[in-house]
Subunit: 363 residues, 2 copies
């Protein structure tokens, strides 16, 4: 049997730093648990542009299609702000999502007990919070045509197209129902069916798919009301399914509720490959944080927990994933904190490397 | 000189109840301050559909175009859920916005001192919060063509179009800069320029308009980061300007931060009419709340404060507006609360009418 393969794309900003800590975890699994990954590494985002003039080289794209899972750090930075839209760092990430057809983006918003105080929300509102946002990731306004900036009369007009086919909605809805079955059996679908026809179709198809999951309690909410309800009382939710653009905003909002953005992983899953594993890319919810890049201040936990998601969803190693998650929890319980998890003055924060070492020690 | 004219559209659900309290305020201004409005009343939303088979009759539309200001309660309700998209209650409201060309939607998110405890956010995060969201209201994905549900191959596809011209962005940006000049001179513009070309044009035009307002500190933020930052530390913002769809979500989010949704008014303003007054529609941020309609439980303050905004923006009666706002504050300070502003058991809430009477008494 060949080893499971993993393509690591550290990317820009704090990406390389947090990924270095994941490497320590991977090494630990090899040395102590006899679980060896075939790891390769490549460029994505601004660093790929710097080397190749494109945010994702075709060779990297091809590699991503072949491996069992991709682990990505973060992309982007002010250095690339002036670049043309088509070669911005983000396009590298979007190309990976699109060409790997990763339609189901799982974004857990989980409040870590040790960090409940750190949220801007009241402790009772967020303590124990554990919701999963399933965001459609390969369609909608992110990829719809026509798009662009056009001349019209004597002025310009900016155009993007929101577009969803029934089958696109069907498959992401199914993945959300499957997840709901494994969790609290509650699913809330969010759109703007009162204003957008694409939302009407969305609601219709999700309702239809729901008939195959009679045990799941399905509800529908307008996305603006969803933003409100997430803010007011997030624990009313279990799984939320929504489109690419609403999912972008709502999952960031949900992440921020927990107060521990530096802790949150994500998985982007596609259809099963020949080996039965889904196409998959794992990445932290946080961005490249150029303001603290290279200073050893970044929190590696979101990236480490993204690797835990890879263990669970790509490699059927649920127990190992849980072991890793518990190690992270144990480190938090010891009071070890990177700078993002501290709001008091006078405490010296752990560095990125110290945090990674602590997780390895806890393993 | 003729009296200023006001068209009242109570609408559905709790609309008529809260509007009845505004009528008391209007009467008070007539009796005690000699300020008399020519008030007419008409139907919008579900109730208009019930009577006329359309959520906004052409005669009502024509009246709205003629008056100095429109005051609207709320539209919608489960009774109308099965109606075809084109005759849903919401279409009545959207037609008013579009045909009156009300491009600048002002949504203050203000935390009332007496209510700071009521937010799901920590008191220090929201106490004293006072931000203004300026939402573009007549374009974007709400009105862009093509739109609809179409057959494509052997399945259906739902399509909506996000569309912004330079002049549409220019005019709403200007209104936001003007507001910023009267406030804290800080403006943050939100879009997804990293993903959407319409966002690129938005950022470009806002930047250009900013050159006419060198005193205003302009910043740009991606809308997902905006949702995060609003949740994390909303007091970093003064005025926010954003498009129709992002504005829908972000203003609801901001409203919910304050914990006092039942307190929040809004103004939708268009170009100046012949008399120099802007076309204007005022409405509470909350919806029709069908679950509590007809029970005397609704909080009339948002609608009363919408009338205060009308005094300020349509009738140049800033002092009278402030007087009314202070009356509402005084009532809160007395501890008078409708049910939505109470989270303890055992206190009997004020009814809608009692709250309205208390405001009149405080005046
Ligand atoms: C970097 C950007 C293109 C991306 C998105 O908008 O999807 C990010 O915000 C995310 O949520 O993963
Ligand atoms: C009722 C609905 C059409 C409306 C909107 O989406 O604009 C509402 O949510 C609002 O924000 O005023």
């Amino acid at each position: 049997m060949t080893n499971p393969s993993l393509l690591i794309l550290p990317g820009d900003g704090i990406g390389p730093e947090v990924m270095a800590e994941v490497r320590k975890i991977i090494d630990w699994f090899g040395a102590k648990r006899g679980i060896t990954f075939d790891v390769s590494e490549d460029l994505v985002g601004g660093c790929a542009y710097d080397k190749h003039g494109t945010p994702l080289h075709d060779d990297t794209m091809a590699k991503a299609q072949e491996v069992d899972a991709v682990l990505l750090g973060a992309v982007g930075g002010p250095k690339y702000d002036a670049l043309d839209f088509s070669i911005k760092p983000e396009r590298g990430l979007l190309r990976l999502r699109k060409e790997m057809d990763l339609y189901s983006n799982l974004r857990p918003a989980q409040c870590f007990d040790a960090l409940a105080d750190f949220s801007s929300l009241k402790k009772d509102v967020v303590a124990g919070l554990d919701i999963m946002i399933v965001r459609e990731l390969t369609s909608g306004v992110y990829f719809g045509e026509p798009r662009g900036i056009f001349e019209e009369g004597n002025e310009r007009v900016g155009i993007n197209t929101q577009r969803y086919t029934e089958s696109e909605i069907d498959r992401v809805a199914r993945s959300a129902f499957e997840l709901a079955m494994k969790r609290g059996k509650k699913l809330c679908s969010m759109e703007k069916a009162n204003v957008m026809e694409s939302g009407i179709l969305w609601r219709e198809v999700v309702t239809e798919v729901g008939k195959d999951y009679p045990e799941v309690e399905l509800s529908h909410m307008y996305a603006d009301a969803g933003a409100m309800q997430l803010t007011r009382w997030p624990k009313q939710f279990d799984v939320i399914v929504t489109d690419n653009l609403f999912g972008d905003l709502l999952s960031d909002l949900a992440a921020m509720l927990t107060g521990s953005l530096g802790m949150l992983p994500s998985a982007s899953l596609g259809a099963p490959m020949d080996n039965g594993r889904p196409k998959a890319l794992y990445e932290p919810v946080h961005g490249s944080a150029p303001d603290i890049a290279g200073q050893g201040k970044a929190n590696p936990c979101a990236c480490i927990l993204s690797f835990a998601m890879a263990l669970r969803y790509s490699f059927d190693m649920g127990d190992e994933a849980t072991r890793l998650e518990q190690a992270v929890n144990a480190v938090l319980a010891q009071g070890i904190r990177t700078a993002d998890l501290l709001n008091e003055e006078g405490i010296t924060p752990a560095t990125t490397a110290e945090m990674g070492d602590a997780v390895v020690a806890a393993l």
